[in-house]
Symmetry: C2
Subunit: 449 residues, 2 copies
């Protein structure tokens, strides 16, 4: 009998693993259990669906379920929830609306993803309170925006989802009150970027409240106000965008170890402490390229890559899941905003580094070429080793892919001097002769030496 | 008495060196001899001046001569031509319109640049024949375009200057006939890019003649036609853009060695075979990161960087000039066109590699995000070592800075697998989840393994 590769979770990590394992080892039986109805969907596109730049929720699906079944010969079972794992008998308990069953496996991948964090705020059970972690949540939010109860939406959380939705709501002519409990929005991008983005939000009509912890969401049945220490802010709906947390209950109940971040601990092949059980994607830890330590940065590329690697390993070719650099980018109205590596001094000192940083402003085009704008770059290096540790960037153009140069430098274990010596592209429409990254490295290098 | 650092040539390499040496060692006397009147100018901007996107030639000047003299205390002598070097007495013969003088030096930098190649074509001495290597040449071409003798310009050479000027001429409503003797335009970018760019040129009304060697430029006094084996092409002016060659006569006559490329040979600090004589910029060789061998790729960043390094070395801090990856980018109408490393099979085999390449097409944005376009990428790796050797890219957006990721991989001596594992940025407006570079690396990796 063919061996069975069982995958729990049918999004990026799960479907990447299933597809790769089946391609590399066509004789293997590959079964995917997905609780919901959607598979292989691009949750990152939901803000643009809410904004009405994308017409149909189906457009976000990379590969429809039928194609996995028919073209890739994957036994994809939607509406099937894995509720327990017995590692001794290598079986998983599966529940559907109709019945409870048992599915055996030879190898198991947990790709259970993450859920929206529910912050400790009273009143989040009222009508008119939304999140945006699932396709269903996206549909509900879009339906609300198409027929809103009033003009104003409150957003709890100034991370990338909060900011992308602020843009979406403004694009739908709604007023936005955004509440961030920290001193600036986009915390993992550093304070310089956070302040520039807050200005951009304000320029686009978003009321930004930083250092503001939401105490309570008020209203009878339907939400009517967000209550903060500053007072009451009238709203007609609330979006909670307070981050995500890994879905680890299934793993925990089976005795699978979690790591220091609270996500599932894995080795370099994505394997957990339990034999033949892997974890990948938003539910799992990865190794951070800067610290060499476990990190939980739930992003789409990581999920796809780790899933694919597990699929290759299961398919017979042991393949590491790789390291992450924590590279991220988002669009915030007319700005491109990006980061990579580690930026936060305290975190870096705890990891044994002696961080030194510089912030510079450079032009996105040659000084004489029309239409240019400014790019702000913060670059962080280690005073001891000279290594590049992290960077953030913000500007109207030329940011999204410029951050990748620093990501490559970090994963290539380059020093700030190595970065300064990169032979980067130059033509007047695309940058100054010394690329802004090189200028930042030059300035940081002189501070480090 | 203070030591004298003498610089011959007042553009990118020369002025970078002069500025850096003076900053690091303010007591040093720094003298710059410049034949012409322009210093520190951005010749790369000339096509956009011809196109009238830049109003004034002065706009191309990064730092005016007065500022070098007054703010940086550099003894900058325009209209001064160095005509001979005597390394034994450490003196240079200097000619001006009025007289001939001798200038002594302790350290000497040759930053004599490059000149436009005059191809072996009869009739290039006729009126209406232009080049675009100097500011004066740019001024003359602009004056012509402002009051052209007729509607049609012939361009001899389909390199980046030829293509940038095809765009400029079309932007000024002139008809363009472009002649390239090789089988495709933009030879160092590879045939895939060359063909895509030729299509873009044709779509924008440029008549592109590849595989077409110009035999003769015809006309009484003023040019009237370009004669090729195919026949006669009526033109009212001709731009010769057949590449550049290093200005090495001054060096040669002083017994300074040239390298295999015909440019001045230098060591890792930019020093020539003659003690205390350096060379940097378009007249000098650099070490190529892929081959470790001397290469001549005269581009602006290289000149700035090497000049600055020589200035630092002279100023007391020995600083390598670094390696080049041959990274280049240009705008060709609505396309961004980029390259890095080595792409050409024959050249790579001669250098001891076993090149394998793939060409892929990927999307510039997530499949569902509006406004995306296609990016074509060719990626070359070494079958023996797995190393990344080169890449080219072309597309309407997201190309100019995406090439830098591959440049970083090459200079970081990464393998194709290392490149595939980079944690590059992703958000729907800026690319697919797997960045096109990662997809290319994935496809190439499977071919190499």
């Amino acid at each position: 009998m063919a061996e069975t590769f069982l995958v729990v979770g049918g999004d990026a990590a799960g479907m990447s693993a299933a597809s790769k394992a089946k391609r590399d080892d066509p004789d293997r039986e590959v079964v995917v259990l997905e609780r919901g109805e959607w598979v292989s969907y691009g949750a990152c596109g939901l803000p643009y669906y809410v904004k009405s730049e994308i017409d149909d929720l189906d457009d976000l699906v990379a590969i429809p379920a039928e194609r996995f079944r028919e073209e890739r010969d994957i036994d994809l079972r939607t509406g099937h929830e894995a509720t327990a794992i017995d590692p001794d008998t290598r079986t998983v308990t599966v529940e559907t609306d109709e019945r409870t069953d048992t599915q055996s496996y030879d190898e198991l991948l947990l790709a259970t993803g993450a859920r929206a964090v529910a912050p400790p705020i009273d009143g989040l059970d009222r009508d008119g309170v939304f999140t945006l972690q699932t396709m269903e949540a996206g549909r509900e939010l879009k339906e609300y925006v198409d027929a809103p109860a009033g003009d104003t939406v409150g957003i709890i959380g100034g991370g990338y989802v909060g900011i992308e939705l602020a843009e979406a709501f403004r694009g739908r002519d709604l007023d936005v009150e955004l509440f961030e409990m920290r001193s600036h929005v986009l915390e993992p991008f550093g304070s310089e970027v956070g302040e520039t983005v807050a200005d951009e939000l304000r320029d686009n009509g978003v009321a930004v409240h930083t250092d503001t912890r939401v105490e309570r969401v008020a209203g009878e049945d339907h939400v009517t106000a967000v209550i903060t220490p500053d007072g009451e802010h009238a709203v007609d709906a609330v979006l909670v965008a307070a981050g995500v947390q890994p879905r680890v209950e299934l793993a925990e109940s089976a005795g699978i170890d979690l790591g220091p971040t609270g996500a599932i601990a894995t080795d370099e092949y994505g394997q957990t402490n339990v034999e033949s059980v892997y974890a990948a994607g938003d539910c799992a830890e990865m190794t951070h390229a800067v610290t060499g330590q476990p990190a939980h940065v739930p992003l789409a590329l990581t999920a796809n890559r780790a899933g694919r690697a597990v699929g290759a390993t299961v398919g017979g070719d042991p393949t590491p899941v790789g390291e992450i650099a924590g590279t991220a980018v988002l669009k915030a109205f007319d700005l491109e905003v990006a980061r990579t590596g580690l930026l936060e001094n305290e975190q870096l000192r705890e990891a044994g580094f002696d961080p030194v940083s510089v912030s510079i402003t450079a032009a996105s085009r040659a000084h004489y070429y029309p239409g240019g704008s400014e790019i702000e770059i913060t670059l962080v290096g280690d005073a001891d080793s000279g290594a590049v540790l992290g960077a953030s960037m913000v500007g109207e153009e030329g940011v999204a892919k410029r951050i990748d140069t620093v990501a490559a430098a970090i994963q290539g274990k380059m020093s700030v001097t190595d970065l300064e010596y990169l032979d980067l592209s130059y033509a007047p429409p695309f940058g100054p002769t010394w690329d802004p990254v090189l200028t930042a490295a030059k300035v940081l290098g002189s501070k480090l030496s």
